[in-house]
């Protein structure tokens, strides 16, 4: 005779609320892993595709310009270009990760799954931001590895490479969160990408040394935060910077802090997230 399951005494105590301290580490970790698994599942689109696109960009610029521009910033044009392209693909992917995650969840209505769990605004900000950073850095790393095979980059100052890679990914992750929280439909986010992010990235000295710009434009370039991330990152590789390195570190740190405060506030108030 099998034991009577209906009358058997329960082995486990009844469920209770999980206890945690000041930080819900388990929850934060779960949110972070959700963000990572989300892009890892479609790695062809999220990691491999940016890699191919960036290598094509490199090929085109070298084919189109390599002949006539032999030196820029004291190195060959290819060495000058490679760090800029790596940075560009990193920030695009960091932005894409957080913005698509939040906006899709908003449009489909499953954002409640993120808002209901016992996660504080700070934990929400950190979880999403770290997820976007992970994708940015991963794409950057693969692109760097591929370019090393082609161009043979060497690293001049590892600190600047790491700092600017992390700070730029974080900055764009947070901008992505900001854009997606603000946006109501996909058109809005596309507008942010087309009219804010792409121009800032293109006109930042990724493809040319800002020393070449005529006076008025050079001033404009120096108030673009994207200029500092690319300039500092490139300094880490080639040992030549167009702008001030200290200013770059300060701008990146301050911009990240300011955005963190803003995004934290948006999560805390529930702006365009909670009814």
């Amino acid at each position: 005779m099998p034991p009577n399951l209906m009358t058997a005494t329960p082995i486990q105590p009844p469920p209770q609320v999980r206890q945690f301290g000041r930080v819900n580490w388990q929850g934060l970790k779960t949110l972070y892993l959700k963000e990572v698994r989300r892009f890892a599942k479609v790695a062809t689109q999220t990691v491999l595709a940016p890699l191919v696109t960036t290598l094509l960009f490199l090929a085109i610029f070298v084919l189109a310009l390599g002949r006539s521009v032999d030196k820029m910033g004291g190195v060959t044009f290819m060495e000058f270009l490679a760090p800029g392209l790596i940075m560009m693909t990193m920030v695009q992917n960091a932005f894409a990760n957080t913005s698509s995650s939040i906006l899709i969840a908003k449009v489909q209505g499953n954002i409640v799954d993120v808002l209901m769990p016992p996660l504080s605004p700070g934990e929400l900000t950190a979880g999403f931001a770290l997820g976007g950073m992970t994708r940015g850095l991963l794409v950057g790393l693969t692109t760097w590895a591929a370019m090393t095979l082609v161009v043979g980059t060497h690293i001049h100052a590892p600190f600047f490479v790491l700092f600017h890679a992390a700070a730029a990914s974080l900055l764009l992750s947070q901008l992505g969160m900001l854009g997606a929280i603000w946006a109501v439909k996909f058109d809005h986010l596309a507008a942010v990408t087309n009219f804010v992010i792409t121009p800032l990235a293109f006109l930042s000295g990724t493809f040319y040394s800002v020393e070449r710009l005529p006076g008025y434009w050079a001033v404009l370039a120096h108030i673009n935060p994207f200029f500092y991330m690319i300039d500092g990152f490139r300094y880490g590789f080639i040992g030549h910077a167009d702008g001030s390195l200290a200013a770059g570190l300060a701008v990146m740190a301050l911009a990240n802090l300011a955005l963190w405060a803003l995004v934290h506030r948006l999560f805390a108030t529930g702006y365009r997230l909670k009814a």
Partner: protein, 268 residues
């Protein structure tokens, strides 16, 4: 109380359902115009940025390819890239979206023959591509002077290119089963073909092997023809290009017609 009765009867049409064809072909254009910020202004801004970046990085220094400057050379590349990408995307997205949302029945049920549907999809995609190209060209003309464009030549190559890429887009849309497939085709096939076609650089500057490889790429002939129309500068034979593109378009058209007639991956 009188009820106004009018007996419903099927609309009559001759050998070709002209109204249906026009409605069908105009569908994609109406959809694109509805989201013009994303679909027209987006490419416009990114192409103008491209032009600016190339101009700043290179200017017209050290440029010795015929009588034209680098910016003039580049405009054709930007226009063709916009035309090709949008034609392909429009057709592929239109079909795939309808398939995934289950709306493809609306087009299958309509009294349209496979030939009419093939023509409708192709015209719809090509017109969207050409409109995007025209917008990019118009904006470029603000910055770049093109002395004496040969409009018929330009139109011939632009239209043929748009039709070919539209037909490729139809095949992609029919074949793809999810967005990932379409995105993969875009990244790993369309993008390399468009980028490595001489859009942005003269192939005369390439090593021999690169030049020969690029001449196998049909998009090269589209770019070359459009550039000949815009600036008079071309690197390949225009007759060869025209013949090749026309035969390719015909072949693709027959293939797409067969696919649509058989209902491959579309009908159960």
């Amino acid at each position: 109380m009188t009820t106004q009765t009018r007996t419903l009867q099927p609309r009559r049409f001759g050998r070709v359902n002209w109204l249906g064809l026009a409605t069908f072909a105009g569908r994609d254009m109406r959809r694109v115009l509805k989201s013009y910020r994303y679909s027209l202004l987006g490419p416009l801004v990114s192409n103008m940025l491209f032009l600016a970046v190339f101009h700043i990085a290179l200017g017209d220094r050290a440029w010795n390819f015929g009588a034209i400057g680098f910016s003039q050379f580049l405009v054709a590349g930007l226009v063709v890239f916009a035309v090709c990408e949008r034609s392909f995307e429009t057709a592929a997205e239109s079909i795939l979206y309808d398939k995934l949302e289950g709306m493809i029945w609306d087009t299958l049920m309509a009294p349209l023959t496979p030939l009419e549907r093939t023509i409708g999809y192709t015209l719809g995609a090509a017109s969207v591509g050409l409109l995007t190209g025209a917008v990019v060209l118009a904006a470029s003309l603000l910055f770049v002077r093109l002395p004496a464009p040969d409009v018929p030549l330009l139109m011939f190559f632009a239209v043929t290119g748009a039709v070919i890429l539209g037909l490729c887009g139809i095949i992609a849309g029919i074949w793809a089963e999810k967005w990932d497939h379409q995105a993969a085709l875009n990244t790993f096939l369309l993008l390399p073909l468009s980028f490595l076609s001489g859009c942005y650089y003269p192939i005369s500057g390439l090593p021999e092997i690169g030049r020969q490889l690029i001449q196998l790429n049909p998009i090269f002939y589209v770019v070359d023809g459009v550039r000949a129309g815009l600036t008079g500068f071309h690197e390949g034979s225009l007759q060869t290009g025209a013949m090749l593109l026309l035969s390719l378009a015909a072949l693709l058209f027959i293939l797409v017609h067969r696919l649509i007639r058989s209902g491959y991956k579309v009908k159960p």
